[in-house]
């Protein structure tokens, strides 16, 4: 992994047009149109200018994002992460429907035809104890299909991860950008508040919040979960964005914007924030697995997602109850979750290497 990223780091300085693998239009720029430069001898210098201008334009032609994408594809672990994340997401979204179409049961379908004493069967086993394709991950205590439940749990887990990350993104980016742009006393006051919040045992406070305001409806509890997790996980994002804005705000384009009378909010959100996008994307990718882990932790303890909704954390909590007899009830949700987090972490690391080679390794 590191050999790769080192190589990439050294490459990132100069982008050679000839090596561009993405096939940005080469012919159009390489041969300047003869019509445009036949304007007389005094334009000879201008001709050179046109060329060099066009050449610089060509070098800039591989944008930051295209360049990063190319580097990301070279990083095998990150590519593996990306593929797994995409597969798990697709399976979570469409899986339950596909299962319903194939075998005709939903994740919460409890078989009623045969009242058996034990309803939890190992993977690939039917109620008769023989091999069967119907339940590849076995069934749970009530006889519900484990695969369908894991996929449905994935929907909730990914959903919580993404929405809470967006909440923290919204708060963190605005807060950091405002603090960084305004500077001075307001900045130090705002960042002192972040320092104080940083030193709080926030997961403990989230547990207090979730248990005290325990909602009667599963949907209400889910909303509470977004708010609770999102509102405590924006601190690092705020610090990153503030740092970026501090280094950007004295550059010419901000001065130009200010000179033309652009208002402060517009400068912050139209000129400064888009320029901080690289580190923000990287950190957001790394925040998703953290938040999913927090959600799973809270659900495992019984403070998060409430039945009938299930997430990987609450499925694992159910599984732990029966670990001695029905280990697959824990192992499948647990391993699916670990694999997803593993992939998201590698993807985030890869994105960091790709978007900002200098920010590598923490």
């Amino acid at each position: 992994m590191d050999e790769n990223s080192l190589k990439q780091a050294s490459e990132s300085g100069v982008v050679e047009p000839a090596l561009n693998p993405l096939g940005t239009p080469t012919e159009a720029v390489a041969e300047p149109d003869p019509d445009t430069i036949s304007l007389g001898p005094e334009m000879a210098i201008a001709e050179g200018d046109v060329r060099s201008a066009e050449q610089t334009q060509f070098v800039q032609g591989t944008s930051l994002w295209k360049d990063a994408w190319r580097r990301l594809l070279k990083n095998k672990l990150a590519l593996f992460g990306l593929i797994v994340v995409v597969l798990v997401t697709l399976a979570s979204i469409f899986g339950p429907t596909l299962i319903k179409m194939t075998w005709g049961f939903t994740p919460d379908y409890v078989p009623t035809d045969k009242p058996a004493l034990v309803k939890s069967f190992p993977p690939f086993t039917g109620p008769d104890g023989k091999f069967s394709w119907t339940h590849p991950m076995g069934t749970d205590n009530l006889g519900r299909d484990q695969l369908a439940r894991v996929l449905q749990g994935g929907q909730i887990s990914l959903f919580v991860g993404i929405i809470s990350t967006l909440v923290s993104l919204l708060i963190g980016v605005s807060y950091g950008a405002i603090a960084g742009y305004l500077g001075g006393r307001i900045d130090s006051l705002m960042m002192r508040l972040v320092d104080v919040l940083y030193s709080l045992p926030y997961v403990i406070l989230v547990i207090v919040l979730l248990s005290m305001f325990r909602s009667q409806t599963p949907r209400g509890q889910l909303t509470l979960l977004f708010v609770a997790i999102g509102s405590v996980s924006w601190l690092t994002m705020a610090r990153i964005v503030r740092g970026q804005v501090l280094s950007l705000k004295n550059q010419e384009f901000v001065l130009a914007a200010r000179a033309t009378g652009v208002t402060a909010p517009r400068i912050i959100f139209r000129h400064l924030v888009p320029n901080t996008l690289g580190p923000v994307v990287v950190y957001a990718t790394l925040t998703i697995p953290q938040i999913m882990l927090t959600e799973a932790f809270l659900s495992f303890l019984g403070f998060g997602v409430q039945p009938p909704l299930a997430s990987w954390g609450s499925l694992a909590a159910d599984g732990v109850q029966n670990i001695a007899i029905f280990p697959w009830q824990l192992i499948f949700p647990g391993v699916t979750m670990a694999l997803t987090l593993f992939s998201l972490n590698f993807l985030g690391d890869g994105l960091r290497d790709a978007l900002d080679p200098q920010m590598r390794r923490v």
Partner: protein, 307 residues
């Protein structure tokens, strides 16, 4: 240095008050109350309960009384569910369990993590490097509530080597599985931090000087590189303590240990208000003081740091 410590302590005290106030506010703002369950109580009984716990007074009096009890007398009151037990005695009883598991886990993580991270850095891009870094990523991604039960399944229920749960004193085999479960994620983080720190230090000038003057590789690594390379690990101690506190919550639940985390979960589920406030305040105080200690240690270890 003294000025720095005093300044930090002055920030710490209001922070603790803020934590206590937030917790108290959350409890008071939440709908419902601790004394009535599904059934409604007869009004006279309800009135008596409210009078007994001072709930009939205006909120600022309740708040002031609570704060004065804690700040003035260091007394968190009496638990509502564990009849007749003071919150202080519950904390005093459960703290050693959590502290033993947490500190042993952190020690294990330091030893294993620093060793693995140093080897990975010294043999960068070797098989060892890739293996330990992939394992580290696995450690970060595998939640401890999955790892713990799997360890129980393997070592207790299949191999019958170790007891699956319960607390049996500090020097029993019961402590092994909780400590290993809790330490996994810190091993991973510390290995990654050590590797990153060591890689940076190994390229620096003073290491080249140390090598150039003919020191053995062992001396270069142990006396020079490790000291600089471990700075990120030292500064990770603060966040690690915070994670450790939340980690023990899960581990204590899985292994049924009578620690602070387990009591906290029970208190939250039971709405045992004094116990919740007591444990939250205690955790916040511990965390902030530990952070302060880490910052002081940092200044001693790294002569470039000045406060």
């Amino acid at each position: 240095m003294i000025r720095f410590i005093i300044k930090r302590l002055l920030v710490t005290i209001p922070t603790i008050l803020v934590v206590i106030s937030i917790t108290w506010g959350l409890i008071k703002l939440a709908p419902g109350n601790f004394y009535s369950g599904e059934k409604r109580l007869p009004p006279t009984i309800e009135q008596n309960i409210r009078a007994k716990y001072g709930l009939d007074k205006p909120w600022y009096q309740q708040y002031g009384k609570m704060l004065w009890q804690i700040v003035g007398h260091l007394d968190f009151g009496t638990s509502l569910k564990y009849e007749g037990q003071s919150v202080n005695s519950i904390i005093a009883r459960s703290l050693p369990v959590s502290a033993a598991v947490g500190l042993l886990a952190y020690l294990l993580a330091l030893v294993v993590g620093i060793t693995a991270g140093s080897i990975a850095a010294l043999k960068q891009n070797s098989k060892w490097d890739y293996a330990s870094m992939t394992l580290a990523m696995l450690g970060i991604s595998l939640p401890n509530f999955v790892l713990g039960p799997i360890l129980v399944l393997v070592f207790s229920l299949t191999l019958y080597w170790l007891p699956p749960s319960r607390w049996d004193g500090f020097f029993s085999r019961n402590i092994i599985l909780p400590v290993v479960t809790l330490s996994a994620i810190y091993i991973a983080y510390i290995a990654r931090l050590t590797r990153a720190g060591m890689l940076e230090v190994l390229r620096s000038d003073y290491i080249r000087t140390a090598r150039a003057k003919g020191l053995s590789e062992k001396d270069v690594v142990i006396k020079h590189a490790l000291r600089g390379g471990l700075m990120p690990v030292v500064s990770y101690t603060g966040p690690a303590l915070a994670f450790l506190l939340t980690g023990t919550v899960v581990v204590e639940k899985i292994f049924a240990l009578p620690g602070l985390g387990n009591y906290f979960i029970q208190a939250s589920l039971n709405r045992d208000e004094p116990l919740i406030i007591g444990i939250v305040a205690f955790i916040a105080i511990t965390l902030l003081l530990m952070n302060l200690l880490v910052d002081i240690a940092y200044a001693f270890l790294d002569p470039r740091v000045r406060y």
